[in-house]
Amino acid sequence: MLALYTAASGMAAQALAVQVISNNIANLSTTGYKRQRAEFQDLLYDHVRQVGTQSSNQGNILPVGIELGLGVKTVGTPRLMTQGNLSSTSNSLDLAVQGDGFFKILMPDGSFGYTRDGSFNLDAQGRIVTANGNVVQPGITVPPTASSITINQQGQVSVTIPGTTTPSVLGQINLTRFINEAGLQAIGDNLLVETPASGSPQDGLPMQNGYGNIQQGNLEQSNVDAVVEMTNLITAQRSYEMNSKVITATDQMLQTNNNMHT
């Protein structure tokens, strides 16, 4: 009976939902993490009796047909790019983006990664780098003597050099936007990379043309809502159970057949 395979597809889908939920919960306090959700669609249908066909030569039409669905499929696990809360850290190199846009990071292989995780540091050469030591683009080098780094909302980086009274501007941190942010591919380490689905990267200045602003001394928390995830987990677990019950019931029906003796 097809019901066995239909229910199995339901169990597989719910197992995947639990996988996605568990990753969200595991990243509850990952800076800049955007939660994912599993999206399902029904599989194709077996049209046993076509709706709308003629049931008599007088032109009577079947108002309903027999459609047997064959289960469920996962269509995607899109990332929800909503704003996470900002938490104040008072660390001058902790940056959060409020609004749209990603920080652009130069990866060791020469390609670019994009992140909302703005917990930056200085490396031995004084460059602004991520926690993994990858340089934030465009590269900005802070002189060793400089003190009190200020990054304003437009992304302008300025420092105070001892012996001078006016702060000197070192550079400008840009943000990058994509037309379809959900189409970016996650590669771990809080990094996302461009794909054919995301569209090409659009670099721009913060606070202009729809780009978000930069908040110094803040970090963007993950946008995972623990309550939502727990409710989703319960739903997924119960749905999984229900699908297994269908398998049991179908199995019992087949067993009934086998138990008939002649």
Binding site: D42, I66, V72, R177, N180, G199, S239, N243, K245, T250
Partner: protein, 256 residues
């Protein structure tokens, strides 16, 4: 075989189909915009029994057969997601999408933006507005979809006005029962039933319509199906036993 066995078999066959319908409903318990199916049964009267030996002139035999599956078009619960590209339709309307096979209709409003900036479904099919696909520009922020389905974005130079990017096409059908499920949360309509603009629907942004499968109903139906199936099997069994006993006893020729 006897008529009772044939009647029992007809019921068992329809029960198997009903189980498949239940299984599909349960499998799609978490599918956005999914509409549950119901099985419809009807009595089929056969004027005379097939089995000539037991024919009685005035007792027609009634069989059961499944006449069709009915789509339960009731509204599913709306779940808040907070994502600006999620829309749910409150009412009888459907979104119109463009697939390679032609226009299809869906209530699954988990939408995305394509690399070209167009509003698409999770499978990448364009969501149609009144004037064709709805496209966004690179610098667009703050996508708002109001309850009439007007899609607008913030004007970067003037925060008090919105730039309109399109109007979602929300349609309804005179006889929605005649829609056919196509999989992928989509429906297709017959050629003689054109869609008309829905007047009773509201678009809700930041929410998704969940599946309208009611778990308790499905579980009860499942129990009912498997129990009825076993009951019919018992009936068939006793019919068989009866047959066996009669053959044995009738064939029991006195040996004296």
């Amino acid at each position: 075989m006897e008529n009772a066995s044939l009647v029992g078999l007809s019921r068992q066959m329809s029960l198997q189909r009903e189980m498949e319908v239940v299984a599909n409903n349960v499998a799609n318990i978490d599918t956005n915009g999914f509409k549950a199916d119901f099985s419809l049964f009807e009595e089929y009267l056969m004027p005379g029994a097939r089995d000539g030996n037991f024919r009685v002139a005035d007792s027609p035999v009634s069989f059961v057969r499944d006449r069709g599956t009915l789509i339960d078009l009731n509204q599913g619960p709306l779940q808040r997601t907070g994502s600006p590209l999620d829309v749910a339709i409150n009412g009888d309307g459907f979104l119109v999408i463009r697939t390679p096979q032609g226009e299809r209709y869906t209530r699954n409003g988990a939408l995305e933006i394509s690399p070209q900036g167009e509003l698409v479904t999770s499978e990448g099919y364009q969501v149609l507005g009144e004037g064709g696909p709805i496209a966004f520009q690179n610098q667009d922020t703050g996508i708002t979809i109001n309850q009439e389905g007007t899609v607008s974005v913030k004007d970067p130079s003037n925060s008090t006005v919105a730039i309109i990017r399109g109007q979602l096409r929300v349609v309804s059908f005179a006889q929605a029962q005649r829609l056919q499920k196509e999989g992928g949360s989509t429906f297709s309509g017959p050629a003689d039933m054109p869609p008309s603009p829905s007047t009773k629907s509201k678009v809700v942004q930041g929410a998704l319509e969940k599946s309208n499968v009611r778990p308790i109903i499905e579980m009860s139906r499942m129990i009912e199906v498997s129990r009825s199936y076993a009951m019919i099997a018992n009936l068939l069994q006793s019919q068989g036993d009866l047959h066996k006993a009669s053959i044995q006893q009738l064939a029991d020729v006195p040996t004296s």
